[in-house]
Symmetry: C2
Subunit: 261 residues, 2 copies
Amino acid sequence: MLSIASNNFNIFATMISVVIIGGGNVSHHLTQAFLDCNKVELKQLYARNINSIIEFQSRVSITDNITLLTDADVYIIAVSDDAIAEVSSQLPHHKLIVHTSGSVPMDTIANRGKKGIFYPLQSFSKNKTVDFSSIPLCIEAENETDFKLLEKLASFISEKVYAISSDQRSKLHVAAVFVNNFTNHMYKIGNDICESYNVPFEVLLPLIKETALKVEEVKPDFAQTGPAKRKDEKTIERHLELLNSNQKEIYQLITKSIQNG
Amino acid sequence: MLSIASNNFNIFATMISVVIIGGGNVSHHLTQAFLDCNKVELKQLYARNINSIIEFQSRVSITDNITLLTDADVYIIAVSDDAIAEVSSQLPHHKLIVHTSGSVPMDTIANRGKKGIFYPLQSFSKNKTVDFSSIPLCIEAENETDFKLLEKLASFISEKVYAISSDQRSKLHVAAVFVNNFTNHMYKIGNDICESYNVPFEVLLPLIKETALKVEEVKPDFAQTGPAKRKDEKTIERHLELLNSNQKEIYQLITKSIQNG
């Protein structure tokens, strides 16, 4: 244990310095989190469009010229998935370069031996403040030194740091599509039904919240209720009559899936 | 306005007295809410199986003999949907009788001219304490006097009282299936994917919570993100390869539905 402690000391004797690449939601909230934690030297922000990061100019150096990046321990790429490869090829190859995407393989980064992942598993909106400390940060690196550095960096802004391999991350990402994107589509259909029958959608909000909070305590399997689960064909028939053809198709498929367990 | 105030005075000069029929989750939480609010005279609880209500015996009269019910202003039937008709036929026909179901028509109640609905739109678990004040109560009655009585009764335990017709309620119920039962099934698939690849499901919990809370501020339509929404076929293809045939069928159908708006 002593040797680990001494390693840590060598690595973290000085503040970890960071450059963030990107002007979107993830970049915005990461920047905010690093600035707030006071334990990270955020050296520079880069964005193709300077206006997307202009709000931070009084607190950190900003640039729209990728050839003028300053030196840092970690370069965090928070750009759209398709741009990661190209952006990474313009960064200093001997430095630790990580991206923040849930679905792009680590190998997409164009340097050798110092790649990594720094993936915050949350859905961000620019205008909505987030408490970064509760957001899971999934990290990965090609070697242990870099992993420890990322682990340390992540622990400064989040209480939930997970070692997740690229393979696991790709599965996590598809799981996230179900619990986030597809769940939101269930809300959308609920909203459509309410609107078409003049019922305020807000009536459903407490139920939506309770459903989400329930799985923090009970596995989704055990939390399942409703006509599908109890094979209440009479209610299912009544429901199908109220739906349009698209809604009906989804209702039938998910009902079947619930019943097949 | 004066005449309404004076009507109110006549109706509510004394406490509203209530008998609750049923020993399940809804009955349990309703009983708790009425006992806590101190503004309702909860006269009696009935359940076929006395053990299901025995916990309340020190605070309210309980019985398992439906022929021995005491007199009350309102009889609230909180039994399974299929039992509502039969139970209601055994209650005093000249009294206001309401049920708590989301999907059963008001007409199922077997009295004349004094039927009503008292539907708390929430998913209850017996062991989980709920804050009833935030639960929407959807009420309906056959005449205005009874409606006002139910409105008053509902307002004692909930801050969210809605006048919802039987027709609207049936639509609300199918919408609730989407945002509760089907959403929970999305969580279940997310959990299955995590388990099959050894990723802890808890990593997804903050995302689940954020997704639910987001629609309190943004309409689901505008909250939609993800590969389906942005027509990211590359990611969709990668995702489909990771899913079993049932998950794949659901992924494809919901993706199509999101894309068709």
